[in-house]
């Protein structure tokens, strides 16, 4: 098995785990963790695509794109956490209830 195949399969597994958690679990902070795991899976795949054999230079575009992606992911996480904290401060809950809406 090549390194590319191994890390690609890892990224697929991570993506599926994150997707399942994002859909099924209700707690908003857990959804944020799941989203970050899915993001990490995508980054892993992009870098695996750009990987050449050991000793050869990898594709720098892959690395630049993932570097940008990591910074964007932390921005999204920070903003989402601020929203969760505000929701908790206003309602005391950390889940979204469809039946009640957001008072």
């Amino acid at each position: 098995m090549s390194a590319f195949l191994l890390y690609t399969l890892t990224s697929v597994a991570l993506f599926s785990i994150g997707l399942y958690t994002l859909v099924v679990r209700e707690h908003l902070l857990r959804k944020i963790l799941a989203l970050n795991v899915m993001g990490g899976a995508v980054f892993l795949f992009i870098v695996a695509i750009g990987y050449r054999n050991r000793g050869e230079a990898p594709d720098p575009i892959s690395h630049a794109v993932v570097l940008t992606g990591i910074v964007v992911a932390v921005s999204i996480t920070a903003f989402a956490l601020a929203l969760i904290r505000r929701l908790h401060a206003e309602t005391g809950r950390t889940v979204l209830r469809e039946e009640e809406g957001l008072e």
Binding site: M1, S2, A3, L5, T8, T10, V12, A13, S16, I17, G18, L19, Y20, T21, V24, R25, E26, H27, L29, R30, I32, L33, A34, N36, V37, G40, F43, L44, F45, V47, Y51, R52, R54, A57, P58, D59, P60, I61, S62, H63, A64, V65, L67, T68, I70, V71, V72, V74, S75, I76, A78, F79, L81, I84, R85, R86, H88, A89, E90, T94
Partner: protein, 320 residues
């Protein structure tokens, strides 16, 4: 072929830690395991010949994100119990997850492995780019537009976080005396000069080796977070206009470079080879400072000043 048993073990470890983190009932456990996940991902980046990303993942993905998550847990609590979802939803989602995994695996195992990519093109253009490290050249010269917009995303995030604050200024009220413990401030006093040095070093190093504005900015941002955790109130001393200006500095620096180049007859963000190095360094310095201040503000902005969810805006110093 794999040349070491480290890779399969690392891959299994990453999946196992991610699964345990997402499925743990106690959110504190989940967040700590998520930080471990970030560190294992750093190792994966090293194994995939991506040291720039390893640096950024360790500092931003594990460090800053971990600090933000732990701070949020301090407010909302670690109890992650939820309603049990109906079986049809759980089984349906599991089926969708497995189907997605299957489709992705099928798609990825069919990919041509020798598609070439841009390695050769970047290497050919590297001498004219002003730096000698390929990733930095891509980030700040060939694809600098993406980096500029990324700085804008950071700015939007900090505007959003600050907007969600409830009436109290960023500096918060006077500390109540909980900062009597000299240990953390003492460690911060030793560590902060080292962090500033390391941040600057990473910034400078990016021109010729793995490093750059984001890694340096992340270390400096972590220094800001450490300052806040040690009980200092840096935003109380920072005039509001200067704070807002410094947040904008990265975006503005890039914008000035872009418009200046446009005005001088070259293309938008088309760096001339003879000045590229200087322009890149100048832009990188402003971006680093901006990132550092933004990450610190993202951390400070989410905290309620007294650690609780109290909404009153009575105890406040000036709004920055």
């Amino acid at each position: 072929m794999l040349d070491s048993p480290l890779d399969p073990l690392l891959a299994l470890g990453i999946i196992a830690v991610a699964w345990t983190s997402l499925s743990s009932r106690n959110l504190f456990t989940g967040v700590i395991l998520f930080i471990v996940f970030g560190l294992l991902m750093s190792l994966a980046w090293v194994r995939l010949d991506a040291p720039d990303i390893a640096l950024a993942e360790a500092a931003i993905g594990a460090g800053i994100t971990g600090a933000l998550l732990l701070d949020a847990l301090g407010q909302i609590g670690s109890d992650g119990r939820e309603r049990r979802r109906p079986p049809h939803l759980r089984w349906g989602a599991a089926a969708v997850g497995i189907a997605v995994a299957g489709l992705l695996t099928h798609a990825f195992t069919d990919l041509p492995r020798d598609a070439g990519g841009m390695t050769g093109a970047v290497a050919a253009a590297l001498p004219e780019s002003g730096v000698s490290h390929a990733v930095t050249a891509v980030l700040l010269n060939f694809r600098s537009y993406d980096t500029w917009l990324e700085v804008a995303v950071l700015l939007v995030a900090v505007i959003g976080v600050l907007s969600l604050r409830r009436g109290v200024g960023l500096s918060g009220p006077e500390p109540s005396g909980a900062a009597d413990d000299p240990m953390l401030p003492g460690m911060a006093r030793v560590l902060l000069p080292v962090m500033v040095l390391v941040g600057g070093y990473l910034l400078w190093r990016g021109t010729h080796a793995p490093g750059g504005a984001f890694q340096g900015g992340a270390v400096l941002g972590s220094a800001g977070v450490l300052l806040l955790l040690a009980g200092d109130r840096p935003f109380a001393r920072l005039p509001g206009a200067l704070f807002r200006g410094a947040l904008m500095a990265g975006l503005a620096g890039f914008g000035l470079a872009a418009l200046g180049l446009l005005a001088s007859g070259r293309g938008f963000l088309a760096l001339p080879p003879e000045h590229a190095g200087a322009i890149i360094l100048a832009v990188e310095i402003t971006v680093t400072l901006s990132i550092a201040l933004t990450l610190t503000a993202l951390f400070a902005g989410a905290r309620q000043p007294d650690g609780t969810a109290a909404p009153d805006g009575s105890a406040g110093s000036h709004r920055p």
